[in-house]
Symmetry: C2
Subunit: 327 residues, 2 copies
């Protein structure tokens, strides 16, 4: 199973739905700002997860489409607000919302997508009590997303213990994956145990993805990732490589040398190479890859009891892809 | 019935609940920012409306408490974002969130309260299909709020037709009142017709309130409103007085004179008095009061068929208070 192929198909499958929930109405400026990110595509991993989880438990995936769209809108709402907070000017090859529409409209477009996502969920053709269950997952996820983003903002430039780092990426990345997968399974009619298994799968998958991103940030091929390989180090980002190095480097001089490079926005390529060598010697690079691998193994193990299906195959393939990619 | 007395009682009644839904958890900085506005009090008109509507249809108002809290959190989320967008530095006698916590936390605290509001609603002890109905009202209201705020932001300094003005205040003010009232009625077990009557009441009440605010902005006693009486004129705010004046002043010279004062941030008290005299001569001041009165009459008429109760009395008294206040 080719995870990317499934994602491309799922993206096409949901295209019309994604474009159907924000009708023309006044003020059109807000409508246009709200539509930009969801209409622009992207990998659409989260909504694909909704559809796959629904099918994988034997449900009718068409019934899960409103939830898929809602989850994508929620993801896009967080992107709009994050881009403004981080001062990012480009996304998906286009100017970010605050750049083109100004700050107030960026904040309001995020809020509007947030509201629309929940409005769409009220249209799910499922029993009211199942709707309540779906909403419990999704509302918890959005609350946690705000917590994770706050942690991320205020930990910038700080080195935190691994446990805190893992908690931050869990909140920032995994909880929405988990809500998407669990929600899809609920819409598909799964029992509580199956829903929890699928939630565990997505939670571990999200962590695996994020940790492998940390690895790529230091060891990835810049011609493929599109990011300078030293970026995370120059920005002083506290990745799992850094948390591990801080706990592993015994030699105070080496430690100080590494900390001298970390966060140095103007560090030369030579200094970046030196930082990478220190991380390698400390075993931090291997540790990051191994931790990502362990999370992926956990993810796949969590759904072992699902009956065979193309959608289960996709879920497994996506987990494998999380740690076998160069971008 | 004393509307203010009922509000004070309802506020005390909901105090513990309002403080019960945001537990201590990391990051505490975000938790503290999220708590500030809801804990600070304010009139709490919207959540009181939830409780009153629930009781007025014969429901158990304790059951409506989660919705009351959710509606107050939603109102507070919009205040946090609006304060940042508008650059306001004080609210309820305290620094606004972005002033004390910075921009990212202000945006995230708003988002977090938004998420928490919906999380709380999933705990409503009502049938899942009634929960869906409540959510339809509330999600529509929050979507409309973003539209109204966008209109308000981009109409600043522009003069719009009365119809557009009314639509803006309907979206900015009335829809959340209406969702609060309709939601309370649904939780209370009301039938569809009663829910719509109560919704119509709150929608008209919201308009009456806002239009009377416009009147107070030009004719209020500054020692009571706490705002300079010329403020709205100096800021060039397009109130119903302005939309009416523009449609009523036949003499081009007078019209130009008025437009010369409107939006002049440094206008002297004498020029403000002149603008007020022009509005008075054009009948715009009477028109604003009469329109507010008509909305209040509509509101009261809408709930004529509700059986007598202390809560119905409050709803009527609140409508009367909307146009009989000096602050």
């Amino acid at each position: 199973m080719d995870a990317k192929g499934y994602l491309t198909e799922a993206s096409a499958e949901m295209e019309a739905a994604i474009r159907s929930y924000i009708p023309d109405e006044e003020p059109m400026r807000l409508i246009e700002a709200s539509r930009r990110y969801p209409y622009a595509g992207g990998k659409r991993m989260r909504p694909a997860m909704v559809l796959a989880a629904c099918s994988a438990v034997g449900g009718d995936r068409a019934k899960a489409m409103p939830l898929a769209v809602a989850v994508e809108y929620l993801h896009n709402f967080t992107l709009i607000h994050d881009d403004y907070m981080d001062g990012d000017e480009q996304r998906r090859g286009m100017p970010t919302i605050h750049v083109d529409f100004g700050m107030p409209t960026a904040i309001l477009a995020g809020d509007a997508l947030f509201a629309k996502a929940f409005q769409i969920m009220t249209e799910l053709e499922i029993d009211g009590e199942r709707l309540r269950d779906v909403l419990k997952y999704v509302t918890k996820a959005v609350w946690d997303l705000a917590r994770g983003q706050e942690m991320d903002t205020f930990n910038e430039g700080r080195i935190v213990p691994e446990e805190e780092y893992i908690e931050t990426i869990r909140l920032k990345t995994s909880v929405l994956f988990a809500a998407a997968a669990a929600g899809g399974a609920i819409v598909g009619g799964a029992d509580g145990e199956t829903v929890r298994a699928i939630e565990a799968y997505a939670m571990a998958l999200g962590l695996g993805f994020q940790i492998f991103d940390d690895y790529l940030g230091v060891c990835g091929d810049p011609s493929k990732t599109g990011k300078s390989a030293g970026n995370d180090i120059r920005r002083g980002k506290c990745t799992i490589l850094v948390t591990h190095a801080m706990e592993s480097i015994a030699d105070a001089a080496v430690r100080d040398e590494f900390l001298g490079i970390l966060g140095d926005a103007d560090a030369s390529e030579e200094r970046i190479s030196r930082a990478r060598a220190i991380l390698k010697a400390a075993g931090s690079i291997d540790y990051a890859r191994q931790t990502a691998q362990r999370k992926v193994d956990e993810a796949i193990a969590a759904i072992a009891d699902l009956p065979p299906s193309r959608d289960k195959d996709f879920m497994i393939a996506l987990a494998e892809y999380a740690i076998d990619r160069d971008v």
